[in-house]
Symmetry: C2
Subunit: 260 residues, 2 copies
C-alpha cells in the first residue's frame, strides 16, 4: 500500500484510498489505523474524483533554515534545534485547489517547494531511533508566504501571520509510504519554468531527527505534517501563475494563485 490519497467523488462523498496504476481502491476506517478496502465499489477511476489534501493535520509544523545550501546563502549558522512556526489546519488545501490571495493584501506572495513528513501515530518524546515508526509517509508541500508581512513590524517577525492564511499550505498529491528521501530532489516549477532543484540529502535535520526533536516540543498527532523547510530558489508568484512541486517517487503537486 504505497500511495494514499483523499478525494471528493463526483457523487459528492469524501473518501480515501490507495492509488495504483491510475485506479483507486477506496478504503473504509481510519487511514492511520484500521483501514480496510470498501466492499461496494472496489475500484474508482481518476476522472471520477478530485484529489484533496491526503491528510487533515491538526497543525503544520513548518521549518525555517533546514538546508545547508540556503543557510550558507543567507549567512545564517545551522541551528542546533529545528526552528519552526505553526500553520493552522485551515491553511491546508490539496492538489489543484487554488491558492487564494488574501483580501486587502496586494504584496508579494512566495512559493517554497518542500518535502512534507506525515505523522502516522501519536508521538511524544520519541528518540531518533524510534522516530521512523511514527512516520506514516511523505508528501510534497508548497509552503506559501505573504512575504511583505513578515517584517512589517520591527519588533516581531510575523511568521504565523505571513504563512498562516487559508490555502497557504498546499499538500499532495499522495502520501507515499515507501520513499527514499536520501536519493530524492525537490523540483519547483513556476508556470513550467524550473526554479528550485535541490537534494534532500542537504537537509540539516533528517526526517527522523525532526520527528524526534519536535516530539519533545509537542505531541504530534496522526495526520500532522512537518514541512521540512526549503532551499535556494524561492521566488514570488504572480496572480494566475501555477506552482508545481515535484518530488520523484511522490508526484507533482500543482496549485494556481487566484486573486479572489
Amino acid at each position: 500500500m504505497k500511495s494514499w490519497i483523499r478525494f471528493r467523488h463526483v457523487d459528492g462523498h469524501i473518501g480515501f484510498g490507495v492509488l495504483e496504476n491510475h485506479r483507486i481502491t477506496e478504503y473504509q476506517g481510519d487511514m492511520f489505523g484500521d483501514a480496510v478496502p470498501g466492499a461496494v465499489e472496489p475500484s474508482l477511476n481518476l476522472d471520477e474524483i478530485s484529489l484533496l489534501s491526503p491528510c487533515m493535520p491538526t497543525k503544520v509544523v513548518a521549518l525555517w533554515n533546514n538546508f545547508y545550501a540556503l543557510s550558507e546563502k543567507l549567512g545564517k549558522a545551522a541551528p542546533s534545534h529545528p526552528l519552526f512556526l505553526i500553520k493552522p489546519p485551515m491553511s491546508v488545501i490539496g492538489p489543484s485547489e487554488p491558492i487564494r490571495r488574501p483580501k486587502e493584501y496586494g504584496g508579494k506572495i512566495a512559493y517554497e517547494g518542500e518535502l512534507a513528513i506525515v505523522i502516522g501515530k501519536r508521538c511524544s518524546n520519541v528518540s531518533v531511533d524510534q522516530a521512523d515508526d511514527y512516520i506514516f509517509g511523505f508528501s510534497c508541500i508548497n509552503d506559501v508566504t505573504a512575504v511583505e508581512l513578515l517584517n512589517e513590524d520591527p519588533n516581531f517577525a510575523q511568521w504565523c501571520r505571513a504563512k498562516g492564511f487559508d490555502t497557504f499550505s498546499c499538500i499532495g498529491p499522495v502520501v507515499q509510504r515507501e520513499f527514499d528521501w536520501r536519493n530524492a530532489r525537490v523540483v519547483t516549477r513556476l508556470d513550467g519554468v524550473e526554479r528550485q532543484n535541490y537534494p534532500l540529502s542537504d537537509m540539516i535535520f533528517s526526517p527522523a531527527e525532526q520527528v524526534s526533536l519536535i516530539s519533545h516540543d509537542m505531541t504530534l498527532m496522526p495526520g500532522d505534517v512537518i514541512a521540512c523547510g526549503t532551499s535556494i530558489g524561492v521566488g514570488s508568484i504572480k496572480d494566475g501563475s501555477t506552482v508545481e512541486v515535484m518530488i520523484e517517487g511522490i508526484g507533482v503537486l500543482s496549485n494556481t494563485l487566484q486573486n479572489a
Copy 2:
C-alpha cells in the same frame, strides 16, 4: 445561559453544560450550535465532575504587545495590526490540570494571565461592527512560556516552540457569555501572592478589533481561542507553584506546575 463548562463526570463520560448556583445542567448537541438540556440527568453537583477546558480550539491565536502599559515598559511602539503566534490544540488544558515541565528543559517557565476570546461561529473577513456576533464568550487563559527558548537562536525568535508545549495553554474555568470587558481587570496570583492586576480597558486592540483583524488573516472556527495578550507583572513559576488567573465576572483559573 451565562457560564458554559466542559467536564469529565465521575462515571467517566465527558459532557458540557451550564453552571448556575453550583449546579450543572448538562446539555446535548453542540455548544456552539443547537445545544439542548439533556433529559436523563437534569442537574449535576460540582463534586461529581472535574472541569476540562471549556472549549477545544483548533488553534490558539496568542497576541504579543497588546497593552499600552506593557508596550511602554518594553519601549516598543504599539503595533498597527495584532502581532500573534499560533499555539497547537495539544497545548490546551483545563482548570486544575497540571502544567507539565517539558522533559529536558530545566529553565525558567513564565505565567501570563490573560483574557481569552472564545469564537462561536466560523468567521472570515468580518468587519469590526460584525465581530461581536462571532464571539461566543470570554474565559481566562494562562499563556505559559518556556522563556529561555525564545531567544536561544540568534536568527529566529522561537515563539511557537517556547509557548507551544503540551499543557502551556490553561483555559477556564468557564466561558462567560455576558461579560463587560471594559470594566474588568485581570488578576494573577502566584502561590496566593498577587503579581498582575491590570485593566482590560488598557488593551490596544479591543476584542472586536482582534476578531475582525485576525479573521482577515485566517478563518476562525467555533471554539477557537484568541489570547488577548498580557500586561505588566509577568514572572516565573517554580516547580510545585500554583498560578491563579482571576477575572471578575468569569472566575478563577488555577493550575500548578509539575516537574514530571
